[in-house]
Symmetry: C4
Subunit: 209 residues, 4 copies
């Protein structure tokens, strides 16, 4: 299988998952006993924040996914499987985001479980992505793998990314809001700082860069 | 990252968002206490009008998006971020359209908030699109940017587009229906008149144009 | 705009619309007062038949869409608009299919309105498709338009297709089931018989055909 | 029609169907009378297992679909029809998965019917896929069909795959859980073992393979 169709399928899944996120943003229509729209929008703030976090996290993973795969010549069954594992968790993001948003109105045990689930899906996604990264280091069908002297630096960053989400899972069990804040910070951080592989690729591309 | 995959991902998001619009068009099934279907279809007219406005607005933004990106040689992280901001608001359109349609049965405060939200998402989309436009003016990786003498004319049109949606937000706070009518007019206007960049591109293409 | 991105966007809309059709196929879960699953599946037969009709109709329109566009060199704003009109109705199909399926449990006035809506969306789709067909006859950017001596034959078939759906709208007002049967027959007919443009193209392609 | 657009459309349908699977994973929000989140997640285990089975089954079918089509030069109407039949069942998977997950809380007759439906949709998918496989053996527009001496081996594996799902339908009528376990085993098996056509293709691709 050539890379193009793997990318096309993955892009489709990323695009659908990122768009389904907004299905969680619903309000009750007008009617007796229903709260006013401004009150609903106000009390739904966790849904909007969770939407932003998940939207940018999927967006960044999509960028990094492309950066990782662009020097892959041929796709073998191991990469196909690792890519499916990554997508398995990407597809779960709308569900975990919706659950977190629904339960975050107060910081009780259920909210903490929901937030641990939210962070846990991101852990799974990071593990899937890290697996693809390791594959690119060892496969013979990668044109320009990350050079050996930069691999540990890259690994530390990947493991660091996954580790922050693991920390968020643990924190969630004590404070749903603290974990939520941490995950928001991670999303903001990633918007301004990409993986080494991605940065390297874009430097190559930028004319005169 | 090359342009092709950015376009493929964006096209996917545009296509899913435009198709999810129709999920808002639902009627209650037959049953005791449910209104007759003709009554439901009649009283749901705001949903159908909002569907038309959002459908053509997303369609036009998709056309303009392609026209803007077609002379981009290489994609840097700034463009990726601006594109994500644009898509962030595109993905919100089914939600804001559904909310506006649900609340527009009478012109009360909730309906005005809903309509301000509807127009506000279009403001965000315009800002994201304007950001991409400014990027194409200054990036070195754009093959044929809009020439300097035409930039202010183009900017005025973009700012004008965003300004109309800002006006719609303000009007919405006084009359939901007036804002709704204004947004319908803007959609009709854009169907018959595209951005300078788009017009220029299609002139180049049309044989004998 | 080149043809490729128009096709990619349209394919995305076709693919999402055809997959959303199955969202209408839902059953109530187990619980007190809920009918048994076999009873539900039995009484939902209109939903399954409507799914089949809409699935194959979208599939056929997708095939014909490609056959029509494959000789288009450049896309102008008229074609973009006509294509959006076609997609506007394609996106409505999951809604009209769901409404028809819900109301078809008995042949009362509401069921007839629902069936007229179902057929009416197909009329709109046929008109949008016919518009694109006429555009290909007159545009200078079409490489191999249908030759003049075959145009009327092709038009008659297109108009015939739209006319059958108009007839289905009229019949629906008298008998929902009769209109449903007619639309099923049309779908079966189209599976085995494609438009002249499509047949011509595939003849060209088939080695030794 | 060339192969590219058939693949793009099919990839879109696969991507949307695989992502819609997660729409079935919903929990009730916090509220009086609603069970605790941990209890809900625990009692929803069939939904998570069914998600895993369907996710990997669609993923594997997508891989095999590409492997089958990659040596197809031109697409004729028979292949288009067979591909639509395959997609017809792929699109049904989110529905059958949701139904199975909802009813599997106890092993009564309804759960058995739901599980038979779940397995039955996979039978349909296998038949559609087998039809495409047979087409590639006989079509003149396939560049490198499976050589005659390997056809029966390949057929036996395909028929075997479909047969296991037929067996699952039969078992489901006696024990929903036994059929569920069988389908899980099949998914695990396919993750580690692909069709001959697919294996052959990837061997060709792997450098030094």
């Amino acid at each position: 299988m050539d890379r193009t169709r793997l990318e096309a399928f993955s892009d489709g899944v990323f695009a659908v998952a990122i768009t389904l996120l907004a299905l969680n943003l619903t309000v009750e229509g007008p009617g007796p006993g229903h709260p006013k729209l401004t009150d609903q929008l106000g009390s739904h703030w966790p849904a909007f924040v969770a939407y932003l976090i998940s939207f940018f996290t999927i967006g960044i993973i999509w960028v990094n996914h492309h950066a990782l795969l662009r020097s892959v010549k041929a796709v073998d069954r191991t990469l196909l499987f690792l890519n499916l594992v990554l997508l398995l968790f990407v597809v779960l993001i709308p569900f975990s985001t919706a659950t977190a948003a629904e339960y975050l109105s107060k910081d009780n045990w259920d909210a903490r479980v929901a937030m641990a689930l939210f962070a846990g899906v991101f852990v799974g996604m990071s593990v899937g992505f890290g697996g693809i990264f390791e594959w690119t280091l060892h496969s013979e069908s990668v044109l320009q793998p990350v050079p050996p002297e930069r691999r540990w630096a890259a690994r530390i960053r990947f493991v660091g990314g996954a580790a922050v989400y693991v920390v968020a899972v643990v924190i969630a069990l004590f404070s749903a809001y603290a974990a939520f804040a941490l995950m928001g910070l991670v999303a903001v951080y990633y918007i301004f700082e990409r993986t080494p592989a991605a940065s390297k690729s874009s430097e190559d591309e930028e004319p005169g860069g």
